[in-house]
Amino acid sequence: MTDTLTPVLTDNWGTDRSWTLEAYEAQGGYRALAKALAPEFGGPDAVVSEVKESGLRGRGGAGFPTGMKWSFIPQDNPKPKYLVVNADESEPGTCKDIPLMMASPHTLVEGVIISSYAIRANTAFIYVRGEVLHVVRRLQAAVREAYAAGHLGKDVHGTGYDLDLIVHAGAGAYICGEETALLDSLEGRRGQPRLRPPFPAVAGLYASPTVINNVESIASVPSIIAHGADWFGSMGTEKSKGYVIYSLSGHVKKPGQYEAPLGITLRELIDLGGGMREGHQLKFWTPGGSSTPILTEEHLDMPLDYEAVGAAGSMLGTRALQIFDETTCVVRAVLRWTEFYKHESCGKCTPCREGTWWLAQTLARLEQGRGSESDLDLLLDQCENILGRAFCALGDGATSPISSSIQYFREEYLAHLTHGGCPFDPMASAVFAPQGAQA
C-alpha cells in the first residue's frame, strides 16, 4: 500500500532556489538523463518501451498513453521529428503546470531531453502561454543553464546526440491548448485546430512527425527512467497508473497542489486540507476543469482515476478540482463558463462558433429570470447540436457544464424564474465574505 500523498514532481518545490540547475542537480537532477543516454540502457527504443511499460497516460486531460503516442512516430520518415510541450495551461481550474515550471523548470527540461531522444527529435519546443511572465523567465533561464552544462545543444553528454530547445511564448488563446491548434499557432498562424488525419505523429509541426505532450506528462518521464516502470506502476490503480498532481481550489480550507497516486478520492483530499471552509457544505465540483461535467457530494468517494470518473459520467481531465459550496449559484457559475467558451471559440466551425453564442444568450436570459422553463429544453437541444458536431473538443467542453448542471440542479434554474433573477448574494460566496454570510 502506497502512502496517501506521494510527492515526486512537487517534492523539490520548497527547496531553496529550486529553479536553478545547481539546486536541481544537488537533489539528483539530470541523473535520469545520463542513465537514458548510457549505452547500457538500450537506446531510444528502450526509453519508449520503459515509458510505455510504466502506463503513463497524458496528464493534459485526454489520458492517452504517452509511450504509445511516441511509438506512433514513423521512424522511417526522413523528415525531422519534433517534440512540442503543451504548456498552454488555460483550462479553467487547472493550475498545476504553471507552479511546476516556476519552481522546477529543470524537471521539465530534463524530461524534454529524454523524450526528444526517445523519439529521435533534434528540435523541441515548450509552448508556454504568454500570460505568465515569471514562468517564462524561469524557463528561459533553465534552458540557458542546460545549454551551458552540455545537457542541450550539440553532442549532448558527448553522445553525438544534438538537441535544440526553444521556449516559445503564446499570446492569449485558450484554443491553443488543443494540440493541432497549438501547432498552427507555433507555425505563426491563428490557433485553429486541424482536421485529423493526418495525425501530428505523421504530419504535425511543419508537416513533420511531431509528438505533443503536456508539461506534467513530460516532467514525469525522468522519474520513470530513474526508478523504473514498475516503481511508477506500483502507484495508482490498475488502468490509471502512477502519481499525479491534484489541484484543489475554491471553498476549501486549504486550496493547493496535492500530489497523490491516481485513485485518491475527493473526500480524502478535502479532509487532508482540513475540510470545507468553516460552516459550509460542498454543493458541486469539477473533477478536471470546466470542460468536465460537474459532480456533487454523491461522488465524494469515487476514486479519482480515468475509469471511475468516466463511469460517473464525467472525465478526470486535468484533476482541476474546483470546489463550490452552497453559497454559489450554479447558474451564475455555468453562465460564466459559457461566456468563456464563447469568447474562446476560434470561429472555425459553425456548431461551436454559433452554438456557444446562443448558449450564452439563452443562459443569460434564464439567469436574469426572464426566460421560461422551456429554455432548459432549448439549452439541452443546443448542447445536442454542438456535442460531437464541433470540429474539436472546445465545443464539446462548452456543453458539459450546462447539461450536467441541468441534470443535478434543474430546480435552481427554475428558482431564477420564480425569483425574477438570481436568488443568491454574490458576497456570500466570496472568500472575504463577512463571517456567517449566507446565501
Binding site: K52, E131, A141, Q192, S208, W231, A333
Partner: protein
C-alpha cells in the same frame, strides 16, 4: 466581447490546410525583395531584433508571435507599421499578419498603460470575489473594461483563467501573479502602481512595466528570473502535509517490494529486462502505422 470576429474565423484564411502543405521556409526572403525597414516608429535595432527572432526557428514564420510581442514592447501596442514590418520580414501580406494579431487577446490595438491590470473573472475567481474586485477597480479608477487611466498608468481588463485557481481571487499585473486579492488590496495595488511605489508579485519579482514584460515574452530575458520564491504557499500544501505525516513516494529500490509485483532486484535488473522488452516491442511496432 469576443476578439475573434466570427466572419474572420475561416480555415480558408490559410489557403490550404497546413496539415497538408508544409510551410515554406521564408528565411532571407525579405532582403531578396529589397524592402525598406525602419519606418513607422520601429528603429533599426528593433527591426534587427525582429529578424533575430525569426532566425531562431526552423521556419521563420514561427517567430511571428514573439515578433508581435516585441512590436508591443517597442511601440506600446501592435501598430500598423509593426504589422507591416513583420509581414515584410516573413514574406507575408500585412493582411495575413493583421488577421493573426487580432486573433490573440494579448495583442492590443490601443496604447496600453505602464501597468496592465487583469482581474480574473472566470467562474472560480469570480465566485470567490473576482467580480467584486473588478467592480471596485472600475469604480476606483473610473474606467471601464479595456480602458486606460488618463495618466496612462493603468489599463484595466478582466481576464480569463490564469492558472492560479488555488490563489483565488487572482489579479495579474503585467502578467505577474498578485494572489489572494480583496477589493481593498486591489485598490491599494493600483494606487501603489500609479504613485510609482515598488510593487512585488506575491510570489514573483518586482513588477516591471508592460513594455518590459513584452520584451521578455519576445524571448529577450531580463535579469529577474532569480527573484521571488520557488513557489507560493498554496503550491506547497500537499508537500507539507506529506512531510508532516512522513508520507513519500515509494523509494526507487523498494518498487518491487510493495507486495504487488515481486521484482528480484532494483534498477539494474529491471533495466535489462526492459531492454529486451524494448527490442521485441520495437519489432511489433514496425508493423504499425
Amino acid at each position: 466581447m469576443s476578439p475573434t470576429e466570427p466572419s474572420e474565423g475561416r480555415a480558408s484564411d490559410r489557403g490550404v490546410s497546413s496539415a497538408m502543405s508544409p510551410t515554406e521556409p521564408s528565411e532571407g526572403r525579405a532582403s531578396d525583395r529589397g524592402v525598406k525597414f525602419g519606418q513607422g516608429g520601429l528603429d533599426d535595432a528593433v527591426v534587427s531584433e525582429l529578424r533575430e527572432i525569426a532566425a531562431r526557428y526552423p521556419q521563420a514564420r514561427s517567430g511571428l508571435l514573439p515578433m508581435l510581442h516585441l512590436v508591443q514592447s517597442s511601440a506600446g501596442q501592435v501598430t500598423p507599421e509593426g504589422i507591416e514590418t513583420c509581414a515584410e520580414i516573413l514574406g507575408l501580406s500585412a493582411a495575413e499578419v493583421a488577421g493573426i494579431a487580432t486573433f490573440y487577446t494579448m495583442y492590443k490595438r490601443r496604447q496600453v498603460g505602464d501597468y496592465h491590470v487583469g482581474v480574473c473573472t472566470n467562474t472560480l475567481c469570480a465566485v470567490m470575489g473576482g467580480d467584486l474586485i473588478f467592480d471596485r477597480l472600475k469604480d476606483h479608477l473610473d474606467i471601464a473594461n479595456d480602458e486606460t487611466t488618463e495618466d496612462r498608468k493603468i489599463t484595466l481588463e478582466h481576464v480569463e483563467c490564469n492558472a492560479a485557481c488555488d490563489y483565488a481571487p487572482v489579479v495579474m499585473v503585467n502578467w505577474e501573479f498578485m494572489d489572494n486579492q480583496t477589493p481593498e488590496s486591489a485598490t491599494q495595488l493600483v494606487d501603489d502602481l500609479r504613485e510609482g511605489r515598488e510593487v512585488r508579485s506575491t510570489r514573483g519579482p518586482r513588477i516591471c512595466t508592460w513594455r518590459e514584460a513584452e520584451r521578455v515574452l519576445a524571448g529577450f530575458p531580463d535579469d529577474q528570473a532569480d527573484e521571488g520564491p520557488s513557489a507560493g504557499p498554496a503550491s506547497l500544501v500537499g508537500r507539507e502535509i506529506a512531510r508532516e505525516k512522513g508520507w513519500t513516494a515509494p523509494s526507487g529500490d523498494a518498487a518491487g517490494s510493495t507486495g504487488q509485483q515481486p521484482s528480484v532486484s532494483p534498477v539494474g535488473a529491471a533495466e535489462q529486462a526492459d531492454t529486451g522488452r524494448a527490442e521485441s516491442e520495437a519489432k511489433v511496432e514496425e508493423g504499425k502505422e
